[in-house]
Structures are given as C-alpha cells and as structure tokens.
Symmetry: none
Subunit: 129 residues, 4 copies
C-alpha cells in the first residue's frame, strides 16, 4: 500500500481517490482492516488529521465503516463497492469524453473490459460527429 501525490490538488482528495481505488480494485477486500489512522499517516507521509479527513469521506461514500476503538474496515457490502466502482468509472469516462469534445476530437471509440473474474458486461462508448 502506497500513495503518490500531485501537489496541484488537495492531498486529502487524492487520498480519498487512492484509498477508494484500493477497495474497488480488490487490493483491500471486504472486511479487511485498514492500517491504523496514524500508521497510514506514516505510510503516506502526511499528518494523521489529513488521513482522518480522507477516511471520513471514504466512510461517507460507504466504502468503509468504523468500529469504535477497534479500527476501520472495508465494508462487506459488495453491492456498494461495485456501484462505487461503476460511479468512479462513469465519472472519469464522462470527464474524458467531455474534454475531448471541447478539444475538438470528433470521433472516439472507447471500449473498456472488466476483470475476467467479474460477471457483467463490458462498457462500450462510441461517439461520432
């Protein structure tokens, strides 16, 4: 588990994304215990309050839950994980297509294929002038 930051954006936002990625891509599995807040702070090289803020938002998303005094855990609700994964993908795909349209790329073929192990169809986007 490691984190990389781009200094142009708030660190806590990037933490929210990167932690979410670890969950939706399966690196962190349902009911896995997250490292302690202060340990994560050490790993990421940031203050524990910054981690706290990020995890608070991840919890609001529904990806993790807090067990008072025991730690924080990945939700065991796979539906939530799946739907957040779709949401993350959708947001980024739409952002990308919108930017491309603005820049003046008129024809885009985009096909995403999910992990073989997962059920469900592929995403397919085709945009022509």
């Amino acid at each position: 588990m490691k984190f990389e930051f781009d200094n142009n954006f708030p660190i806590h936002t990037q933490l929210v994304n990167q932690i979410s990625y670890y969950i939706v891509n399966g690196t962190l599995k349902p009911n896995d215990k997250l490292p302690a807040v202060r340990e994560l702070a050490g790993i990421a090289g940031v203050n524990h309050n910054t981690i706290q803020k990020a995890l608070y938002e991840v919890e609001n998303l529904g990806l993790i839950y807090t067990n008072r005094t025991n730690g924080k855990f990945v939700t065991d609700n796979k539906e939530v994980i799946k739907s957040i994964k779709e949401k993350l993908i959708k947001e980024r795909v739409e952002w990308f297509l919108t930017e491309m349209k603005y820049i003046g790329v008129s024809s885009i073929k985009l096909q995403l294929k999910k992990e073989e192990s997962e059920e469900g169809e592929n995403y397919e986007y085709f945009k022509d002038k």
Copy 2:
C-alpha cells in the same frame, strides 16, 4: 463564447483550459481578436483580475499574443496550436488510462480520430492486461 465553472477548482485554471479549448478546436481562429478583458469578465461572471491572470498564462503557452494598444489576438502560428492540442490530448489520455488502471479496468481500447479537415494521423491506444 461562454464558460462553465466547477466551484471546487481554481477558476483561473478552468479559464486557461476553456480559452485554450476555444483556440485548439477552432472556435477562435488564428489572428482573431479576443474580447476585451472586461468584456470577458462580464461573460464569465468573474473578476477581471482573474481573467487577466488566465490570459497571461494562455499567452505564456503561446496561444495568444498581446498587441499593446489593440488587444489580444490568437497566434497565427498553426504549429504551436497543433502542438498544444496534441499536448492537451496526450495529458488527458494519459490521465484517463492511469485512472482506469488504478480502478481495475484491465482492458481498454481507445481510438481517437481528429477532425476530417485536419491533416495528421489519428491517435490510437490499446492497453491490455
């Protein structure tokens, strides 16, 4: 000409992008005169200092030049416009592919085709596990 903002990010950055888009997608053509700073401020509904700052950055990119007494104009250097367009596309494509990888989308086929009217090859990306 109009602008849309996401209140969560610096407005001047969004302005730089959106003005650049108008130039690389051909809405503003080489040697076109840009609206006066205060007019742009009105259109965008922001402080004229913010416009000023954004235009300064766009000028640094090489997309516009200032004619002290007459206003600001789109560069007539088509090579610069083209290379900035490529750069904008490249940045966004790379950002997009990186994010998808993190999220756990293993297979992506992406094909971009430029405006018919332009010379130059198409972009093609293919990433598989």
Copy 3:
C-alpha cells in the same frame, strides 16, 4: 434482553440507558438477578469491561445493587425506580421541547400517559407561542 447500538456514541452510555430502561419499564423487576457480566457481554457483543463500567454507573444511580458473591440485582426500592423513571422522562421531554423550539415549531401539544397499572398522575405538556 437485547441491546442495540449506534456506533457513533459511547457504547457504555448506551448500555447504561438501555439497562435502565429494562428496569424502569418493568422488564426487570425488583430483586431480579441480572445476567452475569460475561453473559451480558456476550448478549451485547461488547467487551466485558464495558459492561462492568456500565453496571457500575447503573449501580450509582441506585437501580441495582451488588451482592458480592451472588451477582447483581435490581433494587427493591420502588421509589427509586419511580423517581429515576420520572427523571429519564423529564430529561427527554425537555430535550425534545428545546430542540423543537430551536427548529421553529411554535406550537406543541404533548400528553404522556403512564402505564395503567401504575399509580400517579399523567404528564402533560402544552407549549404555545
């Protein structure tokens, strides 16, 4: 006997309340023996220290007493039980009316009627602008 917790508040406080409720509402009657601490811990799914601490507070309230070798029992002092019940009700009614006032509900009629089996008057609250 069962317990439900809201993970956002101290569990031991919630335990004090819920155990008190079982006594004032008659589920646990005077001189009834409480389940052993470790048994309660099992039922509630919490650490036995947490139960211990909660019972200590309930004992301070006067609702239970400890018979060192035999366990903990509900007090047989019905006056104490009654007065604690009144106190619990009063606190909650006042909290409720205060909140409603802040929210801007100007007129509240509230009438509480005790269990038929109990002696004593009813509570009645009437608050108008």
Copy 4:
C-alpha cells in the same frame, strides 16, 4: 447569532445542528451570507478548523454553498431547507417516541403545529398501546 455547547458531545456536531436550526427556523434566510469562518470561530469561541468542519457538513446537507473567496451563503433552494426541516423534526420525534416506548410510557399524544406563516399541514402523532 450565538452558540451553546454541551460538553458531552463533539462541538462540531452541535455546531452542525445549531447552524442548521438558524437556517430552518428562518433566522438565516436564503442567500444570506454567513459570517466569515474565522469570525464564526470567534463568536463560538472555538478554533476555525472546528467551524470549517461543521460548515463542511452543513454544506453536504445542502443548506449552504460556498462561493470561493467570497464567503459562504445560505442556499436559495427553499425546497431543500423545507425538506431538511422536516427531516430534523422527524428524526427528533422518532427518537423521542422510541425513548418513551423503551421507558414504558404507553400512551403519547403529540401534536406539532408549524409557524402560522407557513403553508402545509400540522404534524400529529398519536400512539396508544
């Protein structure tokens, strides 16, 4: 505008409630500018970060919005304000009725009447054994 705190609960939670109350009860009206974060901190006698955290949550509720560098304002969406008001009332009414049930108050008549100036029916609760 003033704030009162009960030391048994997190200050920022109480701030969220009290600020929400000021909005739903009409003390702060749609599009009113809130005092600056650091000014509020002074009024409430707490650190500006604590205010920040509270306002962030109030914003998530939809009651206020942030205008970058200009300040924070009450939403002009009266529907949101109204629905949050209902939500706040509902939560508190339900909490109250639940507590009363646990305590063993079998019969409760509760009637809330909204501000005369507002349209809409009254709330009425009647719970009997």
